[in-house]
């Protein structure tokens, strides 16, 4: 098959988004607010890692290289995930003095999951069959993730003043970077004209409509314009946090690529 750049770029953005956010989520293991949340969050991360594998496997079939190598050996500038999803969970590391921000985890995962649902619903109508099949499967599992994050989001937004203050700060932070998630990147036009996925505008409108409903339910207002201030991951722009994530992630793989997982 001739190299279809738009398709390949779309698959990288789908795979990398899930891969990086699942990695950030896995750093929370043992640190979540309570043990039930540890179980839930790690289960969600495992699902998301599975989704990433699905998309990397399609790339493998398209001749991009082995799925394991695509996830572990690519240079940061070849990643197409949104910058918001690679950002650290907070100060410190999961091994040393983690000062992670739970409000940021809730808001980032909630915003992302809502968009992921819209994106998967669009992919269900994709002209490319492997995307249609994958999206149908992903949507089923995603439904549970969305319920989970929406519950956290609404409960914390209607909780104590401190919770609201922290949530408001996290919302502002994510809002300022969310356009990086919503954008399709430089190959947008071709992705849409080939029928792979719906337009950015349509998906952004649906995402905002969903947010408006949620915010209204918790008595809050949507912040102003959505932003993308730290770079466009869809065209390979990233921050230092991605380097840190990738070097941690690939440490074992690089030591022994033959190791079983």
């Amino acid at each position: 098959m001739a190299q279809d750049k738009a398709l390949v770029e779309l698959l990288y953005s789908l795979a990398d988004d899930d891969f990086i956010l699942a990695y950030r989520g896995s750093e929370w293991l043992g640190l979540a607010p309570h043990i039930e949340e540890d179980v839930a969050y790690s289960s969600i991360n495992q699902d998301m890692m599975g989704h990433a594998v699905k998309f990397y496997s399609i790339l493998e079939e398209l001749g991009e290289g082995k799925a394991d190598e695509l996830s572990h050996l690519r240079a940061p500038e070849r990643f197409r995930n949104a910058v918001l999803l690679e950002e650290k969970n907070g100060e410190g590391t999961y091994l040393e003095q983690p000062q992670f921000d739970w409000a940021f985890a809730v808001v980032r995962n909630y915003f992302y999951s809502v968009h992921k649902k819209i994106r998967m619903q669009s992919l269900k109508q994709s002209s490319y069959d492997p995307l249609t099949d994958s999206a149908s499967k992903v949507l089923i599992e995603l439904q549970y993730h969305l319920m989970h994050w929406e519950t956290w989001f609404k409960q914390l937004m209607t909780s104590t003043d401190e919770a609201k203050r922290r949530m408001t700060a996290a919302i502002e932070r994510c809002w300022n970077e969310m356009d990086g998630v919503l954008t399709l990147g430089p190959f947008a036009e071709e992705m849409i004209s080939k029928g792979y996925i719906a337009s950015e505008e349509e998906m952004r409108r649906k995402w905002l409509a969903h947010m408006e409903k949620t915010f209204e339910q918790v008595g809050a207002h949507l912040p102003g314009e959505l932003g993308m201030t730290k770079g466009n991951g869809r065209q390979g722009e990233h921050i230092e946090d991605l380097n840190q994530a990738l070097s941690t992630l690939s440490e074992v793989y690089e030591t022994n690529p033959a190791a079983g997982w």
């Binding site: 179980v39 839930a40 599975g50 699905k54 949507l139 549970y144 319920m147 649906k206």
Partner: protein, 170 residues
């Protein structure tokens, strides 16, 4: 091999697959879980189509290995191919009645038969049958399970998450 012989061979393989269990719920065979989509025999080659329950299920590799190890013992088979299929999608209504009973024995409440995705579902306790139960965690020790508590017999238990193909609701 004639058509009839292949058919008999496929039946033999189904019998053997009855002994292959999900390593995370080892009372239920992958057949009763509805994970096997088809068996084909071409001479000494057996091909098994398998539907993953959850995408990120880490048990898939083990299931694949167990299928190969089980079928390779069948006389006349020297090669086994396991294919994970993305279509059709595995849903909980594929679990057989026997599978549902075996899940209960394992302490896992089987998924409800007619459940609308997104709606709350009534989950009877696998020990006492009471529906006076509360959901403790939508997620459990494996991707396909959730954790509940029975207010009648005061036992914690698990249930299989309902998985149905969802429509294009907004």
């Amino acid at each position: 091999m004639t058509g009839i012989e292949s058919k008999q061979m496929a039946d033999t393989i189904y019998d053997v697959l009855q002994g292959v269990k999900d390593p995370e719920i080892d009372s239920v065979s992958i057949l009763d879980l509805g994970m096997v989509e088809g068996v084909e025999v071409e001479g000494p080659l057996a091909k098994v189509g398998v539907l993953p329950t959850f995408t990120g299920c880490p048990a898939l590799g083990i299931i694949q290995r167990d299928i190969v190890n089980a079928i390779i013992e069948v006389e006349g088979i020297s090669e086994v191919e396991v294919n994970f299929l993305s279509k059709p999608i595995w849903t909980t209504d594929r679990i057989t009645d026997q599978g549902k009973e075996q899940l209960k024995e394992f302490g896992i409440s089987p998924p409800p038969a007619n459940h609308t995705p997104g709606e709350p579902w009534e989950i009877p306790c696998p020990y006492c049958g009471s529906v006076y139960t509360t959901m403790e965690n939508l997620f459990g020790p494996t991707a396909c399970r959730c954790i509940l508590y029975c207010r009648s017999c005061k036992n914690p238990f698990e249930a299989m998450k309902p998985v149905a193909n969802i429509g294009d609701d907004e």
